[in-house]
């Protein structure tokens, strides 16, 4: 490597001249405002089509909207749309049928209240912060509200409404899907042959339109021309229609939902499992730990932050469930499988915009409170623990 002085020096050095031409000036301006330019389109889109409609939806939720010739006419009706849902003629539809509270109902309410008080007390002991306290109060408000609804309807032998159905889809669906998804991921992370084949096959349902999933399961589960019809006949359930019983209908929707969403949990958990450092596992193997011990002591703590995050994502999407109940059962029998989104959709179809918006707003409230609580009190805790801060 020798330096030839003459040839290198032919390019004159010195400081760059400041931009002069108009094009350069424009470039300068662009670079100076690059920061804003980068986020401006996304912020504008979100403001226009997400934040503004959210606010406008609040206005619709407190109005009676009429279609009149050219456009819409709004009339302010206060909280009438909401009171209708909580105490008026839509109460049975939204919350469920309340009769006398059963003993189990009271037990559930007492247990929830007790747990909430203990939780508050623990926070008080760990150090009080105002924002944390308010956040916990909101969470507790939502939890006790849900407990009262559940205790007053299902646990007292009555039908629940769309709120209960939505929560059923979220809680049961997420739990089942997480359990099976993690189980499959654990199996696939073993030394098995054909790992890539299983990985690809198990992933496919995630790619399929929920609409297709709904119709496919409706076909497969059909008691007269579905593939399992002979089985039903043989067991003596030939005349039984799963869609006419609330519980079988809900279970079938959960099965369809699980078919679609287990792949997501499977694929993320599999990646998380494969990301657990081999050294730790091998060190434990050398120390003579059994498979279950290794999983409990080493693998599970390592994947818990991913597990919590994946559950959060899954729950966020689960709250919005609409396609499957719409297609498989149209919300029936009665309202047994109707989710809140579906209720809002039906209200919109009957041009009852105010009710539709108020149901949607309540869904937003429940989703935000429960997801934010889960994020703040579960996910963040595990992420922080993981980072050792």
């Amino acid at each position: 490597m020798s330096i030839d002085l003459q040839s290198v020096s032919t390019r004159p050095g010195g400081l760059s001249p400041v931009a002069v031409s108009r094009r350069d000036q424009f470039r300068e301006w662009l670079d100076l405002h690059a920061g804003r330019l980068f986020i401006a389109p996304a912020v504008t889109l979100i403001l226009l089509f997400s934040i503004f409609p959210t606010i406008a939806s609040l206005v619709i939720a407190v109005s009676r909207v009429k279609l009149s010739g050219e456009g819409f006419r709004f009339r302010f009706v206060g909280l009438q749309n909401f009171t209708k849902l909580f105490a008026g003629n839509d109460q049975i539809h939204f919350l469920g049928r309340f009769n006398e509270m059963s003993v189990i109902g009271w037990v559930l309410i007492a247990a929830t209240v007790g747990w909430c008080l203990r939780w508050l007390w623990r926070q008080w002991r760990a150090g009080f912060s105002f924002i944390g306290f308010v956040g916990r109060l909101i969470t507790i408000f939502a939890l006790i509200g849900l407990a009262v609804v559940l205790a007053g309807t299902a646990l007292s032998g009555n039908a629940w409404g769309t709120l209960g159905t939505t929560m059923f889809y979220v809680i049961v669906g997420c739990t089942v899907q997480f359990g099976i998804g993690l189980g499959l991921a654990i199996l696939c992370s073993q030394q098995i042959r054909g790992k890539n084949f299983f990985r690809v096959v198990f992933f496919i349902p995630m790619m399929i339109t929920p609409l297709g999933v709904g119709y496919a399961f409706r076909m497969v589960a059909d008691p007269t021309f579905g593939p399992f019809a002979p089985v039903w006949q043989w067991v003596g359930l030939g005349t039984f229609a799963w869609a006419s019983d609330p519980w079988t209908a809900r279970v079938f929707i959960i099965i369809g939902d699980s078919w679609q969403w287990i792949p997501f949990i499977f694929i993320v958990m599999l990646a998380a499992l494969e990301n657990v450092p081999r050294d730790y596992v091998e060190a434990a193997q050398v120390d003579g730990a059994s498979g279950t011990q290794i999983f409990r002591e080493i693998v599970w703590p390592a994947i818990i932050p991913v597990a919590a995050t994946v559950m959060l994502i899954r729950a966020i999407e689960a709250f919005k469930i609409v396609d499957l109940p719409n297609i498989m059962t149209s919300g029936g029998p009665g309202i047994a499988t109707e989710s809140m989104t579906l209720q809002a959709l039906f209200a919109w179809r009957s041009n009852d915009f105010g009710s539709s918006a108020s149901v949607a707003y309540l869904l937003l409230f429940v989703t935000v409170v429960l997801c934010a609580s889960f994020f703040n009190f579960v996910v963040l805790k595990h992420i922080r623990k993981d980072q050792g801060t």
Binding site: G35, L45, G71, Q191, F228, V322
Partner: protein
């Protein structure tokens, strides 16, 4: 005779031990192996069977569907192409239109979401933003006032918003120096990602009204806008971690060499995140391709997408035309599954890096 029992070879393991204990570290015991493969096989069947059923149903004649289940083509029923013929030959115009609509809308929305989303994600990963908390509150208050004013007075909302926006700019100039509390990049990022929580049903009615007054209902552009906004949070969330993972020195070096931010983004950063970009694009495209709820609200005939065509096979009083519906579903599934199989490793990685870092 020998006093070194410790060196005696181990006794031959018993049958139970051989069945239940792994022969070596990292290997499975025979019983475990059988269990694992049986479970995997059962699950494979559960995953594949509904797809298989959809696939064979698309080749069934109406009577093959209604007269009870037939499982194997050529064995217990004679496959027929009549449903395919109906859709692809007889009504090919409707099918093609829906397909083309779906392609245009999925591609357009994906392009828009990925472009704007990655720009925002990059900005948030690399540039410090310090928006004032007070300014944002002011904006929200004025926006709320604008909405209420437009609804109550019945004025044209475009005029109301022009006035509100002007008012916001003027007020901001006047009072912004009194605002002290600022937000950080993390707050903005959280705000953008948290938009995914918003159920589409909440915004759909106002968006529908907005689109109606702008003439965007039942147009490609309207659906593209709606889809890109719903998927923007996913793009921002996934891409942010890819951008944050690029060595900062590469960008600093380019900066010293005189490159502008936009040039660095285009010439250095985007090519380096190609795998992440591919995964994000694919995921967004699949979500747009499969979307149904927004399409129901925002398209009536001209901009109908494939999912709407699927639902249209539910012909009300005549029952469901299962055979043709299955054809449409197969047509919808095939391209997506092909892409997904090709790119599924990327998706796992992309989702994971996002998930781990939260």
């Amino acid at each position: 005779m020998s006093d070194t029992p410790a060196f005696r070879p181990q006794a031959q393991p018993g049958l139970m031990q051989r069945l239940f204990e792994p022969p070596a570290v990292g290997k499975m015991a025979p019983v475990t192996a059988v269990f694992v493969y049986v479970v995997l096989a059962v699950w494979t069947a559960f995953v594949v069977f509904p797809l298989y059923w959809v696939f064979i149903t698309s080749f069934k004649l109406p009577q093959s569907v209604s007269q009870g289940p037939f499982y194997l083509p050529f064995v217990d029923f004679q496959p027929s192409l009549h449903a395919w013929n109906d859709l692809l030959v007889k009504d090919w115009e409707d099918t093609l239109r829906a397909f083309v609509n779906s392609v245009i809308i999925a591609l357009g929305a994906t392009a828009l979401a990925v472009m704007f989303g990655s720009m925002a994600a990059y900005g948030l990963a690399r540039i410090q933003y310090r928006p004032k908390f007070g300014s944002i509150m002011l904006f929200v208050v004025i926006l709320l006032g604008g909405v209420v004013a437009a609804v109550m007075t019945g004025l044209d909302w475009k005029i109301v918003f022009a006035v509100a926006f002007a008012l916001f700019v003027l007020l901001l100039r006047a009072v912004s120096r009194f605002f002290v509390r600022t937000l950080s990049n993390g707050d903005i990022l959280f705000w953008m990602i948290s938009q995914r929580i918003l159920p589409a049903i909440v915004v759909i009615i106002p968006v529908y009204m907005m689109f109606q007054s702008m003439g965007l209902v039942d147009t490609h552009f309207g659906l593209i806008l709606a889809y890109s906004v719903t998927n923007l949070p996913i793009v921002v969330w996934l891409m942010h971690d890819f951008f944050a993972g690029i060595p900062l020195e590469l960008e600093e070096s380019a900066q010293l060499d005189g490159a502008s931010r936009l040039f660095i983004f285009w010439d250095i950063v985007l090519p380096l995140t190609r795998p992440g970009l591919a995964a994000t694009t694919l995921l967004t495209m699949i979500l747009c391709w499969n979307e149904y709820l927004l399409a129901v609200f925002l398209s009536t005939s001209r901009a109908q997408t494939m999912p709407i065509l699927v639902a249209a096979m539910n012909a009300g009083d005549r029952g469901i035309l299962w055979w043709t519906m299955c054809v449409v579903i197969v047509v919808m599934i095939v391209p997506v599954v092909l892409m997904a199989v090709l790119l599924q490793r990327f998706i796992a990685k992309g989702v994971l890096t996002g998930a781990v870092k939260g």
